[in-house]
Assembly symmetry: C2
Homo-oligomer: 152 residues x 2
DNA sequence: TTTTCAATTGCAAATCATTTGCAACAAAAG
DNA sequence: CTTTTGTTGCAAATGATTTGCAATTGAAAA
């Protein structure tokens, strides 16, 4: 499943809008950062740091810089970090204004990913928080299964 | 939060019962394996491989052996693997006959863990599976927040 | 109980993902 | 243009987990 088969309910943002967002948070718009944003923009899928790195125009920029940039973008709320079945973190752009709360359905055979907008009620989360006296409770939820192409 | 503050709704299994279960799956009951089971039995919490290793009677057995054993126990369905906020896998014993399906509420400050027995995603899971044509869909769900002791 | 043999272990080296120190560099402000 | 300060490349360091291999040992067979 190399092709992008999932639905994009979000509008793809323009690069200038992205760099503006970044400017508001961090300080400088550098070559590597713009390149990373452009790559994320063109791949509305969770991408590993290494995948982002290899999409980079002719080995431009160091892997360490990509790692540093992902932390920066994450702190700025511009990307969201995910962990699936393997050890590598994956990143996706978060739309401006969005809380970036959604989940994924991942094929354990081909790694195909579908975005899942549904979520169980926030009430349950509050109930669990209250019952245990926890505050600022959030959750991570991911689904795993076998996609249509990989069945049989 | 070093103490064990959460409720144990499950009965702690006896070691002979555990080794019997293991015997049914794998081949040999060795010193390291029995020790690991005993440690898991006495700590009804998610434990990292390194934590299990350091609980081991006077440095008995190699770290690599613990890693190999955790894979073995996992394949035998005797332990469940969890991933929280940091990079280390954590393990807990799964009761005989249990599908081992439950979740956790983790304190992001002190790493304290509370087991969450409720599961709300079952219906959503079916709906999502059907909508996307996926089969054998499962999910991972964990809650994160700040525990009573770590607030303020 | 002894033999036998595949499963298991210890040890050290190898991987993998990610981080970090530091000197050279380059955006953005003045 | 100059200054200031955040950024980057590079290489080495980390931390978790895996793996090759020879030595060891459960447990089934004799
Ligand atoms: Mn949710
Ligand atoms: Mn559940
Ligand atoms: Zn698939
Ligand atoms: Zn806490």
């Amino acid at each position: 499943m190399k092709t992008c088969s999932h639905q994009h309910t979000h509008k793809r943002q323009e690069l200038p809008a992205l760099t503006d967002r970044l400017r508001r948070h961090a300080r400088k718009i550098t070559g590597p950062r713009a390149a990373i944003l452009e790559i994320l923009r063109q791949h509305p899928h969770p991408l590993t740091t290494k995948e982002i790195f290899s999409e980079m125009p002719r080995g431009e920029c160091d892997l360490a810089t990509v790692y540093r940039s992902m932390h920066l973008l994450e702190k700025a709320g511009m990307v969201k970090r995910f962990h699936f079945y393997d050890g590598a973190a994956r990143f996706e752009l978060v739309e401006e204004g969005s809380d970036g709360h959604y989940h994924h359905l991942v094929c354990i055979r081909c790694s195909g990913v579908v975005k899942v907008e549904e979520c169980f009620s926030a009430e349950i989360e509050k109930k669990i928080a209250a019952k245990n006296g926890f505050k600022a409770v959030t959750h991570k939820l991911e689904f795993f299964g076998v996609c249509p192409n990989c069945q049989g």
